[in-house]
């Protein structure tokens, strides 16, 4: 071992005035100095991957292992015998012991060919997917609007930007509290206005449909700014002279947007949408602090309820948690596939 001899020699040179600790310190430094670049890189990555292993890899594997075992509602041990994929089958067929179903859909022979066992907004998978798709769509549209405003040069732009970012920086619990108060009939005017418009019932926070809308609005209010910032970065990377050329060539504003802005902003936009989709898929805190998980069950809600709500069903909880991860993994793959296409595309 070359490193050992090196450090030995160094200790000899160091002389006898050194303490034991200095010598080990020197040995470590010498050992590090003599590592190859690759070995040094791996050494630097050890702490990061140790933390990730403890907090992410190990729990993810454990979640999967737990999901293959039976629920044991009594006794000291929370998990029963190995049951294979029974938990998953129960969840997908709507037979799990969950208070709200993951999904409860049966195929039928007549027109929509699908039948929902319980209302669609009581099914966690559809609540979560619907929430993600609708909120990301509106955040993209509003984010574009905000990015356009911030892209202009005007006095006070700095302060407008602060105002637009501010909701993004608000803690989830305060965002939830704000919308809870706005739509709480005893306090906020939100429910009065919506009732007057005939859109909401008398107690919107107890109604699945109304609460779903409230949670959407709350999420859009908070997260559009994130989209705006990423889109703005894309907008500012666009070469301005392209617009002048287009103008001279007689392109209308819509054509300029479609042919210049959109393609050039697309990579940034896709990344932003991916981030927002992932974030929307794990919605929990916002629901918990406004309408509550019983009114609008998301996938994460289901996991928490299965663990702490009344009966202890760890196996099922783990299965739901793992399926949540699977659904998200699936969406990432679709996005990445789409993203590859865009980068290799005509632009």
């Amino acid at each position: 071992m070359a490193t050992d001899t090196d450090s030995d020699r160094d200790t000899l040179i160091g002389g006898d005035g050194e303490t034991e600790r200095d010598r080990t310190g020197n040995a470590v430094v010498n050992w590090m100095e003599n590592l190859s670049e690759a070995a040094y890189a791996y050494l630097l990555l050890v702490p990061a991957f140790l933390l990730l292993a403890l907090i992410a890899f190990y729990p993810l594997v454990m979640t999967f292992v737990m999901s293959l075992r039976e629920d044991q509602t009594r006794g000291g041990e929370p998990l029963g015998a190995f049951t294979g994929i029974d938990n998953y089958v129960d969840i997908l067929t709507g037979n799990a012991r969950l208070a709200r179903q993951f999904m409860d859909v049966t195929l039928s022979t007549s027109f929509p060919f699908l039948e929902f066992g319980v209302p669609i907004l009581q099914q966690a998978l559809f609540v979560t997917l619907g929430f993600a798709v609708i909120s990301v769509f509106f955040e993209t549209v509003i984010g574009f609007g905000q990015a356009y405003v911030l892209d202009q040069e005007f006095r006070g732009r700095r302060w407008v930007r602060v105002a637009i970012i501010l909701p993004w920086a608000v803690p989830i619990v305060i965002q939830g509290m704000l919308f809870f108060l706005l739509f709480q009939p005893e306090v906020g005017f939100g429910s009065d206005v919506m009732q007057w418009l005939g859109l909401f019932g008398p107690n919107p926070l107890a109604d699945s449909q109304d609460s779903f809308v409230i949670i959407l609005v709350a999420d859009i209010w908070k997260s559009a700014a994130f989209m705006a910032l990423l889109i703005l970065a894309g907008l500012q990377s666009v070469d301005r002279s392209l617009y002048d050329v287009a103008r001279v060539a007689g392109a209308s504003p819509w054509q300029r947007f479609k042919r210049i802005t959109l393609p050039l902003v697309m990579p940034a936009l896709l990344v932003a949408m991916l981030f927002r989709t992932m974030d929307a898929m794990r919605v929990y805190g916002l629901i918990e602090s406004t309408a509550g998980c019983t009114t609008v069950p998301s996938l994460t809600c289901l996991v928490v309820e299965a663990m702490f709500g009344g009966t202890r069903i760890y196996g099922t909880a783990a299965a739901v948690a793992f399926m949540t991860a699977l659904v998200i993994g699936l969406i990432i793959s679709v996005y990445v596939f789409f993203f590859r296409d865009t980068e290799g595309g005509p632009y």
Partner: protein, 365 residues
């Protein structure tokens, strides 16, 4: 909003306008002229007819004089579409300002309204009772929750910065096999839902470890800052790693070599040369991590029993005013405002860093 009131040089603008039609560009020097005109647009020129007339007279468009103000505005808008865009821009700016800021204003009004009179507050409070901001600390030890949140957020930020600095250096400045797959792995982890990690972690943190007994009493991490700092550091580390990778990779090779020639060790070069030179990047990653941890809900909510002496963070405090028998709406609003102040200050002070960090980190990923 005061910043946006256009300078009152209507006549100056009027004189300049005729040439503007041709030279209209995204030009910063033209700003006052745009503004004055843009101001006129939304109200259809009604209040500022005089200005319009001079304008038209000077530009010699006599044919338009017999039209009504709105038609004239439409005609102008068609002839000079930049004006209409300017009007749209103004409408949009005001709309976004109102939608983002009004909720905070309304929250303040709710907080200032005495208990039990919270009905129908829109623009003004029903009564005036600033003592809610003192009551918040008397009903619950709210300062204790705030303190816990600060400790947890600061500790997580330090952990993240140290670990992400090492990883960012490796990813940003070293070449090694498996670099791209490892970066992808870090990225993918940041996408997974905390729920997928939670069940085993909850078990783990409730397991008693002999080694931890002197520190936590019963040997478990539950109800200690560690139960939040560990998972939150792991979850928010990927973004910090990507930000720091970007910044560290931009430091010229020569500076590091010079330090090494001077006899600095490898780690010494990282901590004495690379990190100080990337101070803005480190600050960016730090600010973003702090905000993210302070704002987090899932682990903060589930990893303690909600008691302030057990390190429950600020969210338990804010949710705590919803008692079993009484719901103290004005205290919920007041505590929310207090909870927003630290992040609001951070956003105002560090907005450039936040913007650059989010875009650099995310787009790099």
């Amino acid at each position: 909003m005061t910043n946006e009131t256009p300078p009152d040089d209507r006549h100056g603008a009027g004189e300049r306008t005729p040439s503007d039609g041709e030279t209209e560009t995204v030009d910063a020097d033209d700003v006052p002229a745009h503004w004055t005109r843009a101001r006129r647009m939304p109200d259809g020129g009604r209040t500022e007819d005089r200005g319009h007339d001079t304008l038209l007279g000077e530009s010699g468009d006599d044919a338009e004089l017999d039209r009504g103000p709105f038609e004239r505005w439409v005609a102008n808008a068609i002839k000079n579409p930049e004006r209409a865009y300017r009007a749209m821009f103004y409408t949009a700016t005001v709309f976004f300002l109102v939608t983002t800021l009004f909720p905070f204003y309304w929250l303040l009004m709710v907080a200032l309204t005495p208990e039990g009179q919270q009905q129908d507050i829109i623009l003004t409070p029903n009564g005036f009772n600033p003592s809610a901001f003192i009551e918040v600390f008397q009903v619950l030890p709210f300062h204790w929750y705030v303190f816990n949140s600060f400790v947890i957020a600061t500790a997580s930020t330090i952990v993240v910065l140290i670990i992400a600095s090492l990883a960012g250096y490796a990813f940003g400045r070293l070449e090694f096999p498996g670099k791209v797959p490892m970066m992808m792995l870090v990225l993918v982890i940041s996408f997974f839902p905390p729920a997928a990690f939670f069940i085993p972690l909850n078990d783990l943190f409730n397991t008693s470890f002999f080694a931890l007994e002197p520190i936590t009493g019963d040997g478990t991490l539950y109800n200690t800052p560690g139960a939040m700092v560990l998972p939150l550091s792991a979850i928010f580390m990927p973004l910090a790693i990507f930000i720091l990778t970007t910044f560290y990779s931009q430091i010229p090779e020569g500076l590091e070599d010079a330090a090494r020639v001077e006899g600095t060790t490898r780690l010494g070069a990282l901590f004495r040369v690379i990190i100080p030179l990337s101070a803005p990047g480190v600050a960016t990653a730090g600010v973003l991590t702090f905000i993210a941890v302070y704002n987090e809900f899932f682990f903060s909510f589930l990893m303690t029993d909600g008691q302030p002496e057990n390190w429950a963070p600020i969210l338990e405090g804010i949710l705590g005013y919803q008692g079993q028998y009484e719901v103290m709406y004005h205290l919920m609003a007041a505590s929310s405002i207090i909870g927003v102040i630290p992040v609001a200050i951070l956003v105002i002070v560090a907005q450039e860093k936040i913007v650059s960090g989010l875009t650099a980190g995310a787009l790099k990923e």
